[in-house]
Symmetry: C2
Subunit: 288 residues, 2 copies
């Protein structure tokens, strides 16, 4: 059984799970494991690893439209080096500061490879779920897509300084809170735009007609080999941590005013099928 099939098994058993966070008692709670081999390419600093691991969980909080409260992490490594540890904690604390949350600590453990488990807690009485998109709603995305994909390419090339910069993303907590009143459905784009749209479509029982141009990050243009590659990095690679949401057309202009980052309308909610410029958009992306 692969991870997606296993998640389906769990979704049947745990009705509170299946969204980006579990919802409990006016709060949202999320936990996620990251590994060196899959999540931290060679050249990733410990500061970036701390920022990004905690940021990924803060992004899940954001995707529920919740304010972020606190985070903890388990830091697992083969050996403990003081500078590494303090850099990790600085990254974790700084990303929390950036979204007005608090990094409050966690646990250490010996593991064969760098393994970080981050957990974030948020607060909202009225979370935005993946279900709720209505036919005719506008489909929007925050910020730009493909920064992490570009970073991966740059890590491969050894351009680690700029790669580390791109790899430190601002979790869209403030945007999520602003979108809470407007959005009918929301999740983050951590598995890539394409897969996120398919997951939203499945949860909401709808389809999406998406139109280019997509808001692909300029950093992607610097590394993409051609247009197909550019789309691959922007729409399928994933690990982007932008918010993908739907809202009534009439909410769009107020949402744009209130969201403190770019909010691009990329299409419309339809009855069924996920398409880009009329062609089916494949359901593939980042597999954790």
């Amino acid at each position: 059984m692969d991870e997606r099939a296993a998640l389906d098994v769990l979704a049947d058993r745990l009705p509170t799970a299946g969204d980006d966070c579990a919802v409990v008692d006016g709060q949202v709670l999320t936990t996620d494991m990251l590994h060196a081999t899959t999540d931290f390419p060679e050249g990733t600093t410990r500061y970036t690893a701390g920022w990004r691991a905690i940021g990924a969980s803060l992004s899940d909080v954001a995707s529920m439209g919740a304010a972020a409260t606190a985070t903890v992490a388990v830091y697992g490594a083969p050996t403990f080096d003081e500078d590494d540890l303090l850099a990790f904690v600085d990254g974790a604390a700084d990303v929390c500061d950036a979204v007005e949350a608090e990094y409050v600590g966690g646990d250490l453990d010996s593991t064969d490879e760098l393994t970080i488990v981050s957990t974030a807690l948020g607060r909202t009485d009225d979370p935005v779920l993946r279900s709720g998109a209505e036919v005719g709603d506008a489909v929007c995305v925050t910020g730009t897509l493909g920064r992490s994909a570009a970073a991966f390419r740059l890590f491969e090339r050894g351009d680690v300084e700029i790669a580390n910069d791109l790899y430190q993303f601002l979790p869209r907590v403030a945007a999520g809170v602003a979108l809470r009143e407007h959005a009918t459905a929301m999740m983050d784009s951590s598995d890539g735009l394409a897969r996120s749209l398919h997951q939203l479509a499945e949860a909401s029982g709808c389809g999406f007609a998406v139109e280019s141009p997509l808001p692909i990050d300029p950093s992607v243009d610097d590394v993409a080999t051609d247009d197909a590659d550019r789309l691959e990095l922007g729409a399928f690679f994933g690990e982007d941590f932008e918010l993908v949401c739907t809202m009534p057309e009439s909410n769009l202009s107020r949402a744009r005013e209130e969201v403190p980052c770019e909010l691009t309308r990329i299409g419309t909610v339809t009855e069924s099928g996920v398409t880009l410029d009329g062609d089916p958009l494949p359901d593939r992306g980042w597999t954790h």
Copy 2:
């Protein structure tokens, strides 16, 4: 740098850490990683693993005197089997039911060995910390010591059924809540009674004069080879998840009435030094 030294580095950097849970905004939050090789001997069922992993975090909540709210877990395994997964979730959900918390899900990941990261959330405006013990206070422990040690021996022998039973402990959440008004300092005995006393002594700037008999579990008598081995299993082995606390002598009888399990007075808070029947009690125990 070993794990304890690394934790000291972090304690300096993170003033909210260092207790059994981090305290934030009227809540307590704790996260912990467990592995097959160190925490789940051969014969441990997935149900027991789920119960125990989540139970360990609930014990941390208990040790702050907090009511348990919700838990999540990352379940990492080399392969995903439906029966294993559901058994794990049943164990996690059942231990939550036993303490009136809610298991709300989590994440899956591929790992080389079974690896579980459990996180628990609790609620209290007035947490009991490790610091706060006063000279002359009574030192108490809930329940009995050495059940996990006995279980380890039984797993080694292949007596897995009774070992699994012993390995499923009731987190002392109700006891912790009852002790909140009475205790001056508290933590759990997950590293063993001896090490827990040393940690409480360090945090409170005091000592402990402990007197036998200690409340060692009858299951230990069935597996111990002699009196020294019995003390080893009862006071040093650890992984017990009882509460160790201090309180003014005058609170003791009311605390005993209100705590819904055995509460044994094992000694008195002193100026310095940790002794058992007058001899120094070594600072050793379970190393995670």
